[in-house]
Symmetry: C2
Amino acid sequence: MSNPTAAILIIGNEILSGRTQDTNVNFLAKRLAARGIELAEVRVVPDVPHRIITAVVQLRASYSMLFTTGGIGPTHDDITSECIAAAFGVPWEIHEETFAAMEAYMGKEHFNAARQRMATMPRGAKPINNKISMAPGFTIGNVHVMAGVPKIMQAMYDALEPTLPTGTPITMRAVYGMGILEGAIAAGLSAIQDRFADVDLGSYPFRRDGAGGVAIVAKGTDPKLLESAIAEVSQLLAAQGFDPIQGEPE
Amino acid sequence: MSNPTAAILIIGNEILSGRTQDTNVNFLAKRLAARGIELAEVRVVPDVPHRIITAVVQLRASYSMLFTTGGIGPTHDDITSECIAAAFGVPWEIHEETFAAMEAYMGKEHFNAARQRMATMPRGAKPINNKISMAPGFTIGNVHVMAGVPKIMQAMYDALEPTLPTGTPITMRAVYGMGILEGAIAAGLSAIQDRFADVDLGSYPFRRDGAGGVAIVAKGTDPKLLESAIAEVSQLLAAQGFDPIQGEPE
């Protein structure tokens, strides 16, 4: 696949402490796949400047684009914006347009120093507008800086999406075999994978309501190839005496 | 804090594709915190050998220990074990004890080549026994290789936990202010953080049932300091006319 690639950097002590269950990765993974952008890496780092800066420098150099989530509010632990400036080696300065808009919205008397920090961005940043929050997301170079709160992050991604490059949408087809054990079909699956170089064939054991089985998922950019690969997997399951159930991968 | 540190490496195309919502990080984060081990980084990489090997080499050098999840089954996409061998520069070879146990359990006629692969481990690996699965988790050096299926991973962690180093348990205390905006308390919070160098004070806006507020979470290894910091935050909220609600962080 020659699709654009992406990484996600989650800046979040609350994920590392176990306080919060991340859901932003799953949301972005699905939306990026539908746009033909390959999510190639995710990292979670704490609210520590050198950790954030190093990760931004590495990830934005390694992939077509980087999305960050978290750390853009007005409190002392919101340090993403100045870390992005450091990663780009540009000044961190008042973004005049955002400053004026926030001041007008809040009123001069409530627009205190902490809130003015939210209007401070790396030089060259372009704000990501969203309809539900004043949270100051922005794009600079190939880095998209978004909120950590899922609803605000999602609104920002909605605003951002039309500006992103597109690739061939990445889709999936799946077949389920109840009661099957991976070890019984591994050789056959491997042979099918060898015949379909452009399909990414994954095998995932699952348990549900006390019963177990295996989901075989074909992922790729050519729906016809996915159908063909899944048809072969279904034959493999049937030949082993199992009833293959085709369906959407979930 | 001079607690031991840990990283998690998730080897999982299914997380990056959006097919699966990861829950292993949250489980491990809580259990590690309770044992006094600081979870310092998480990475998700695809089932690609050089990506796995590079991440293992980097993460195990950077932290006291590394946990990997995923990729230890018998199918062609299960490549974690050989990648760990490559990362350690040791041969990948039959683990005699595991081989014998699996052969006895499955019977010689079902113990095919794919299943024999599951009994193949990096030289020096020590199997992680668990009660619910034959999945071949193992420990080598400071790397703990676990299954991706949450129930199996959890059983492996249960078996592994007594062998891990311990630190001072990391706990949290929280106070919630409904209707509060972060920008109104940011300066006060920052001053409290400055007075409590050994407490990690985080501020997390939330929305629930249409109402919004902020959760202030104090994290650290000294419960008395956490109480003191949260008491000061409660006073700050009260001084702003808000009703502070103390509770367990969730």
